[in-house]
Symmetry: C2
Subunit: 246 residues, 2 copies
């Protein structure tokens, strides 16, 4: 899966190039292309801001024009904030990410073009691109260059990411308990709650026990936690007997 | 829809607080809470970095401890990069955003807790939270504080955003053509291409015309563009006749 190139047209500040590089590296992008960077290249501030993403900065290539920078690519999207006069397709970063991945499976080379900090992309630059990406925002809309690169890179990664939406951290003893182990916990707890007089009166006992089981199910306990709870029950029950005897 | 509060625990640099505020404002979040900011508060660098998001910075509240900062909230997620020893639920920002919105529809107050730049959140801070958010990244993982706030804020906005994945910019003359207008374009073009000898030999004409129609359909032309194309056909056909006459 060939990630898209990131092309920065006439970027002004090294810090922003570095922030873009760092954003890219976090989400698996590495091909950074700079069109006539205003502060020259290489740039110490870019390297500093990139933090661990030095290789992205070190391997960045400089071009004189956007046309040269995107020359060998098959699919290029322009990132803009404002609506323009000409009829063109405008996509969310999520939709763009899907299309970039589809193109990549066909071995097409892809890229995302970003304008400079002050003025964004001009219409000539946009007209070199297949379509436009606009990041949906609230009424206040002031994404800077690094933030725009971050959101689009994040969406590219996200579109191919298999991380489950939610999971439990599992260590050695953190396997899920079996149904039998859960039942032993319930029976142990209910036995002690009956002895202690908490489960009372008799005609309410079943309903109360079911409510307690629902609470414990909702916690999605690990095996380790089931063992810990049973230890707590033993300890509390012991203490209670001692108080009664005293 | 009540957006989540953003709680920054012991943030070190004003610039990062400002970047977080700017990220929040872009995606409709406004409740910023600072726990013992190292450089004091208010902070000129935070205000500068926030750019247009000054109101988020101006309205930020300072607390002495995380427990106080999250005190009145009903649902709090902790953002961490590393896996920890204790069994807890870890979610993607997208899943977290869904749950925050569900909670918000129940009028629950929600928040997202971020650790400081150097060390992230400690286990005591995490134990004040319902669950953990981890941003999925490539092998290189080095999201800074502002970037982490940006991704989670973006996902919150995205989860409630109705922007169509792709759309055409439409101006006054940029309505979609009717089927009849498209057919008139095809017939005009095919007539001229027959006269000019491009559509030839006769037994290939139908297949060639269908291929041209498919190309034009794929362009999803606006009404204005259909008119422009018809003007181009007229102009090109005229030029050709003139050459032949000369």
């Amino acid at each position: 899966m060939n990630p898209p190139a990131v092309i920065l047209s006439h970027p002004q500040l090294g810090e922003n190039i570095g922030a873009a590089a760092r954003a890219m590296a976090n989400f698996g992008l590495s091909d950074l292309r700079l069109v006539a960077p205003r502060s020259g290249w290489p740039n110490a501030k870019a390297a500093a801001m990139a933090a661990g993403a030095a290789s992205v900065v070190d391997n960045a290539r400089v071009f004189a024009t956007v046309a040269e920078a995107v020359g060998e690519l098959n699919l290029v999207f322009a990132t803009t904030a404002r609506e323009r006069g000409i009829a063109r397709e405008i996509m969310t970063p999520a939709e763009a990410a899907k299309r970039l991945r589809v193109a990549s499976t066909r071995d097409e080379r892809t890229g995302i073009l970003f304008g400079n900090e002050r003025a964004g992309l001009d219409n000539d630059e946009i007209s070199l691109c297949d379509a436009v990406i606009t990041v949906p925002t609230a009424e206040f809309a002031s994404l800077n260059l690094g933030q725009a690169v971050l959101v689009t890179s994040y969406e590219w990664f996200r579109a191919g990411d298999a991380t489950p939406p939610a999971r439990l951290e599992h260590g050695q003893l953190q396997r899920k308990p079996t149904r039998e182990e859960m039942l032993q916990l319930f029976e142990h707890l209910e036995r002690e709650l009956l002895v202690s007089g908490f489960l009372y009166p008799p005609d309410k006992v079943d309903g109360m026990a079911r409510a307690i089981r629902a609470t414990l199910h909702r916690a999605r306990l690990t095996y380790q936690e089931v063992q810990t709870l049973r230890g707590m029950i033993v300890a509390l029950a012991k203490g209670k007997h001692r108080v009664r005897k005293g």
